[in-house]
Structures are given as C-alpha cells and as structure tokens.
C-alpha cells in the first residue's frame, strides 16, 4: 500500500440541523486516483470545500502526512500542497493564458512583474501536461473547454502533491477529456494523490483506483475499482436497486405520428450550414457532436435566438421564427444547456420559476391568476418530484437536478408540441437523470416530439429513435439507433473516417 498523503477522520459539517457531511473517514494515497461518488446534495462539494479551506469542519479532523492540520482559508490549504480545480472558472478574459495561470502568484522582482518568466513558466506547465494551447493567447478567444484546461493548468502551477478535480469534464468534449486523462496519469506517475469528483460513471470506471460512495452526507463505503462495477456503485449511491439507467420504451406505442417539424437547408454562415431534418410527433431525435459542432446554434435558430436562412415548416405550415415569442406560439419549448443563465431567475422563488413561461397564459386581462398559479406550481412539484422546502424557496439554493426539473416544469405547463432539450442532464445526479428520462418517455407517449442534444453518447443512443451526428457545423450522418454501436457514431463525430 502506498503512503497516505491526506486523510479525513470523522469529518462532519453541519449547517444548523442540516448535516451536510456526517462522519467521513477517507484515506487518500500517493499515486492513486480516488473518486468521491454520490448524487447531488450527498456532501461531495461540502467535503471538497473543507479540504480547500472554504468551510471549517464542525467536528473531525484532516490529517496531512499523518499530522493534524487546520485550514483557515483557501490559502492555507494551498500552502499545504493541496491544489483544487473547481468547476467554476475563475479566469480573466482580457488577460493571456500565461497571465491567468500565474494570476495572484506572479513571479516578480522588487514588485515588478517578470513577464518573460511568466511566459516561460506557463509554457513549461502547458508542455509538461501536453495541453495544446498557446500561452500568449487571450483567454477570451478560447472555447469553454479550452478555458477549463487553462483553469487546470492554473491549479497545477502551485507546488502540490494532492490534486483535487471537481467535475472537470462537465464542459469538455471527448478530445479534451483525453487531454485531461493524460494530465491525470502524468500526475499519478509523479506519485501525487488525485481526488476526483464526477457524475459520469464511464469515466470514473476508467480512471479511478479507489472509489468512495457518499449518500445524504453519510459515508457508505470505499471500494477498489477492480472489485466493483457500475451497477453496484449506483445501487450504493441511490440506496436502492436501479435495474436500468434508462427507462425502457413502451413498445406498444412505438408508432410514430405525423410530421411535427421539417427543417430544410437551414444555414447561418457563422454557425451551421445546410441543416435539413424531419421530426415526428411521439419521436425522440438525438443530436450528437463534439463541443463546437454547431448543435446548440441550430437549436437557438429554431427558437428564434439566431438568424437563419432556409425553411422551417411546422405542421405543414411554413413559419418564420424571428423571436422566442414566435417559436413558443408555434408550440416549441427549449430547455437550453445553461439553466442558470438562460433557464431560471436564480434569486426568485420556485413558484415564479415554475410559471416563468406560462404566467401570461393563465392570466386574465393582464391580471395574474394567483390561485391557478399556486395549484400549477404544487402540481409540478409533485409530478416532477422536485425536492423543495416550500414553493417560495429561491431556486438558486436548489441542487442541479431540482433546478433542471423546474426548467422542464416551466415548459411542460405550456404543453409544447416540440420540446428541444439541450444537455438536459448536465450536472444532474443519476436519480434525477432517470426521472428526467422517464418524463421524456411519458411525453413522447402522449405525442410530444422531442429533440435531444447531448454530449453523452450513451444517453442520446439509448433515448433517441433516430440520431443525427453533427461535425464542423454540418449534419454529417443520420442513424437509426436500433443496433447502433458507439464506435460507428464516433467515426462520424470525429471525422476520422476509416475508408471502408
């Protein structure tokens, strides 16, 4: 057994009556990747925040190389050789990659920043971990995925032997995930201890050595990867048997209905070219592609947020969708990939957000119908199994899964004919994922046409009837998902054509 670099002993964090973390004891070893797994709200983030010096533990202790340590601030934790890379980006867009990597840690002489050294040191870090980004470029001109890699490089610029990743792949596409995994194996070979938090079972099974499962703030178990598989892990996580990750389709209603939407040579010179497809009532059509392939832009155009050329035909009638208002009038609903920015008003209550798209509809002559709204909210909370204290709680305080259900609820109130879902399960735990999938099934059985955009290949393959692959702003392939393999799809998504 390798050396224990970091250990928690009976770690607890209580917020009033709420026991966010309750008695956590884990050993993190040198040269190992240790994954902490659990649903949203299980206490993973709180645990990381205690290791990062953001929260002080209520009880219990943290041992560093066997010695008791107390982190009073993030700086304390960093000075103790713990590097944490959080999901949220903390980069300045107007500074270069190099300047960002050494922000607040600039090499200097007599208080004057040594720009040459910044550049050379940054290049050294980027090269060491094989991150293909120039150190001189402004961060503002990078894609979200590239920024995430810069954030990682920034975290690694401090001397450390414990590196913590908090859901690092949530905004990465597959090629960047490979870069990340190379970084992690590089860190492993340097005999560092890696703590990894993620929802994605496939990648957890790929890179972890040890896995600790948490549920409702409680420590459940720590297992070696070799001795386990996805199913028992999920059972431990949700605390009940889950026979399937995806709800099965009701085959008795497998007949697809009338043409709901027909898109002909949709083009926006900057975003996508010549996109054509049909969508039927009761059908789920998947859109897959790497980050930047133009999937979301097509959906934004269908919803009136991006100008387009070409034709959109809804129920046999040609429509010109210039604004979301027109799209909504034509029965389209759009759950965007950024629920916090585009889907919800975080400061406002569950009640306001559930009725966000329908309050005008159930109003009479400009007056809000309070009673109808309240019953609608209560119904949504029950139907979607949204876990809230009461309907006046602000949605900003809810977990990702519950927030996403509220975005869905806000649209389902309008009973849309065409529902566009862009990454509907990003940052959502397994239990809530299953519930969202079940809602999709339920809707299609009632005749709703669904477009499902996702970067998770298993998700689009299992949920869709047909699958479109986009690459470099073009639709390159249509598949029937029955009997399809992931490799077949990836060939088209990456463009690495095998010439046979």
């Amino acid at each position: 057994m390798s050396k224990v670099l970091l250990e928690t002993v009976g770690l607890c964090k209580h917020f009033g009556d709420n026991k966010a973390v309750d008695g956590l004891s884990i050993k993190f070893r040198a040269g190992k990747v240790h994954t902490i797994l659990g649903e949203n709200g299980c206490g993973k983030s709180t645990t990381l925040k205690m290791l990062a010096g953001v929260h002080a533990p209520t009880f219990g202790s943290v041992l560093r190389n066997g010695k008791n340590v107390e982190f009073k601030s993030p700086r304390d934790s960093r000075d103790n050789g713990i590097a944490i890379i959080f999901q949220e980006l903390s980069l300045c867009n107007n500074l270069t990659v190099a300047e960002n990597i050494f922000a607040n840690n600039e090499p200097h002489r007599f208080g004057v920043i040594d720009s040459k050294k910044i550049l050379s040191d940054a290049e050294a870090i980027l090269n060491k971990y094989h991150i293909p980004i120039s150190a001189e470029i402004k961060v503002g001109s990078l894609s979200m995925a590239q920024r995430q890699l810069v954030e990682i490089a920034k975290g690694l610029s401090y001397p450390s032997d414990v590196v913590i990743f908090d859901e690092p792949t949530s905004s990465l596409s597959d090629s960047e995930v490979e870069i990340l995994f190379n970084i992690i194996s590089e860190l492993k070979s340097e005999n560092k201890s890696i703590i990894y938090v993620s929802h994605k079972m496939a990648e957890i099974m790929r890179i972890s050595d040890e896995i600790t499962v948490m549920r409702d703030g409680q420590y459940i178990d720590t297992v070696n990867k070799e001795e386990t598989s996805i199913d028992p892990l999920i059972t431990m996580m949700v605390g009940r048997e889950m026979n399937d990750i995806y709800p099965s389709k009701n085959e008795s209603v497998s007949e697809i209905g009338d043409l709901a939407l027909s898109v002909k040579s949709l083009t926006n010179p900057n975003a996508f070219h010549n996109v054509s497809f049909d969508l039927h009532a009761g059908e789920v059509v998947g859109f897959f592609g790497l980050v930047g392939a133009g999937r979301s832009d097509v959906m934004n155009a269908l919803f009136g947020m991006l100008p387009y050329e070409g034709e959109i035909i809804i129920k046999g009638k040609k429509v010109t969708i210039e604004t979301p208002i027109i799209a909504i009038k034509n029965g389209i609903a759009f759950v965007t990939e950024n629920r916090k920015e585009e889907g919800l008003v975080l400061d406002h209550s569950v009640h306001i957000n559930c009725n966000l798209a329908s309050f005008e509809r159930i109003a009479t002559r400009g007056l809000i119908n309070e009673q109808a709204e309240v019953s609608q909210t209560e119904e949504s909370i029950k139907r979607m199994n949204i876990r809230v204290q009461n309907r006046l709680q602000s949605v900003g305080s809810l977990s990702g899964g519950n927030q996403q259900k509220i975005v869905l609820a806000k649209w389902l109130e309008r009973q849309p004919d065409i529902l566009i879902l862009d990454e509907p399960t990003r940052g959502v735990d397994v239990g809530a994922k299953y519930e969202i999938y079940s809602i999709i099934r339920e809707l299609t059985e009632k005749g709703t046409a669904v477009i499902l955009v996702s970067s998770e290949l298993p998700e689009v393959m299992n949920m869709s009837d047909r699958l479109f692959v986009m690459r470099e702003k073009k639709l390159v392939k249509e598949f029937k998902t029955k009997g399809l393999t992931q490799d077949q799809v990836m060939v088209y998504a990456t463009g690495v054509d095998s010439n046979d």
Binding site: P324, I325, E341, E342, I352, L367, I368
Partner: protein, 313 residues
C-alpha cells in the same frame, strides 16, 4: 398576510419606528398633527418620483433624468396655463411630455444596448437644458388658477389633496407590480434578462414601458411641485434623482435588479423625510444634515448586504 408583511419589512420598518421614537424624545413637537402632516406632505413628491424610480432599478437600471423631468413637466403645465389654456387640457399634455421623456430613456437604452446610467445621464442634461430654454432660465409664477392650486393645497374630505394623490399612487403602483403580468415581467427581466427572453418575454417592450412609468411618476411629482411653489422653475428638483434612488435603496430595492417593492420604497422615503424633519426641528446645520443622511444610507445598505450574505451562506 399581515404577518408576512411585517417579516418582509421588519428591518426598515423597525428602523423607521426607532427613528420616530428617538425623534419624539429629541423634540416634543415631533408627534404633533401639524408636524406629522408636514412630513407626509414633504415626502409625497419624492416618494412618488421614487415609485417610478423603483421600476427602473427593478430592471437593474437607473433613471438619473427624473429631476429634470419634474422641472420640465412643471414648466410645460405652468407656461400653458399662463397663456390661458385650460387646466383640463394642460394637465394631460404635461403628463404626456413626462411619459415621452421616459419613453426616450427606454427606447434608446434598449435600442443602443447602452447602460441606462449613460442614457439617462445624457437626458438629465438635455431635459434640463430644454427647461432652461423654454423659460429663459426664469421662474414662471402663476396665481389665481383654482384647479392648479388645488393639486397641492386643496383638501378632499378634510385630507390634504397631495396625501390623496400619494395614497392613490401607492395603491396603483403596488397593484401594477404585484398583481399584473406586466409587473411580473418587470421582476423577471430584472432578475435575469436572458432567462426572460428564452421564456418568451419581450424584454425591450418591458423595459420601454417601465421607463415610461418612471417618466409618468416624475411628471406627477412635477405637477405637484409646481402647485406647491405656485410657480415652475427650470432649476427645480435639482438632485431629486439622488433622493429617489436613496429611498429605493433604503427600502430594500436591489441595484442588481429583480428585488424590491413599492411599500419598501415608501418606507425608505419616509425614513429620509423623518430624518430631515427632526434635524431641521433641532436646528441642525444643513451641511451637517447632509453628512448624517449619507451615513444613515450607508448603514442601512450595509445591514441589508450583511443580511443577504447570511441568508446565502
């Protein structure tokens, strides 16, 4: 309902009560009917202008031009009346001018996509300049016009008419913001304009309408101020925008948008009025009173920020 009301406004309501209590010790004259009426009369104009300002701030915007609109509206009204036009014609015209000023603010803000601070700051100068030009920089007095004088000096059922106007503006704006779909749109657009657009709300229209209401309220204030002074002055209400903003902020309206109420703004305006009143009763030097007002606003905002931080943690 009543319980909810007290919970929501506990902080500032408590502040107002403490202020009144301290004031009653400092001056025995404070609680006299005359003085209390005086406070309400004094605050009525600023409060109504602040109600309009609440819409702008709820949208995470601001309207720096309200003081100039107050002056311009008063001038339009009084110049019309001195030229023999009837009050029943000039009142709507003056208010329309105010609405037009607000419309300009809203239109250019949404059209150029510039922060309303810049747009309304420009219009603050423009409307003030127009007011100066139309009156040659001179005050225009007007006596012996009964309906005009009645606005601020009349009584209805024994109650001073400006208080009636104040009460109806409270009711009107509270109703609009809390009971209508337009009010809901204001809160949503202010809370998250992107989510509002993606939910099918017309953000530009909501913004323009809101600034029109801000203008209208400044217009109502302008008519009242002219009636109170028996004249219109191109320099009137200079700096009133700051008092209105202070009332909103004291009343818990968040400058980041989406949070605030008319009742809060009313209490905020009353706090400022009581403070000014008690300091003048005690003959506190005017310059000192400016400092005291500034400090009180900072303390109130500090408490609000602290409370929100604790709620978030």
């Amino acid at each position: 309902m009543i319980k909810g009301f007290f919970r929501e406004y506990a902080g500032i309501l408590g502040g107002l009560l403490i202020l009144c209590l301290v004031s009653s010790f400092l001056s025995e004259y404070f609680w006299s009917v005359n003085n209390v009426t005086n406070i309400v009369l004094q605050t009525s104009i600023v409060a109504i202008v602040a109600f309009g300002m609440t819409y702008a701030i709820l949208l995470a915007g601001i309207d720096l031009s309200v003081g100039s609109i107050v002056a311009l509206t008063g001038l339009v009204l009084v110049i019309g009346l001195t030229n023999g036009l009837p009050f029943s014609l000039m009142l709507p015209i003056a208010l329309l001018v105010a609405v037009f000023c607000g419309f300009s603010n809203g239109l250019i803000t949404t059209w150029l996509g510039v922060h309303p601070f810049i747009v309304t700051m420009s219009f603050m100068g423009i409307w003030r300049g127009v007011a100066m030009l139309t009156s040659d920089g001179q005050a225009v007095s007007l006596y012996d016009n009964a309906p005009f004088e009645y606005i601020f000096n009349g009584y209805l059922f024994g109650i001073p008419f400006p208080i009636i106007i104040l009460l109806s503006m409270i009711a009107l704006n509270h109703f609009v913001l809390s009971k209508t779909t337009f009010g809901r749109r204001v809160y949503i657009v202010g809370g998250n304009p992107e989510a509002a657009a993606y939910s099918g709300i017309n953000v530009s229209k909501t913004t323009i309408y809101s600034y029109m209401i801000t203008g209208l309220m400044a217009g109502v204030g302008g008519v009242m101020l002219a009636s109170r002074m028996f004249s219109a002055q191109p320099t009137a209400a200079n700096g009133m925008e700051l008092d209105a903003i202070a009332a909103c902020v004291l009343g818990g309206t968040s400058l980041t948008g989406g949070r605030g109420t008319i009742i809060g703004t009313l209490i905020g305006a009353l706090i400022i009025a009581v403070l000014s009143n008690v300091m003048s009763l005690m003959n506190v030097d005017f310059f000192v009173s400016l400092i005291v007002k500034g400090v009180v606003i900072l303390i109130a905002v500090g408490i609000d920020v602290y409370k929100n931080k604790r709620k978030a943690a």
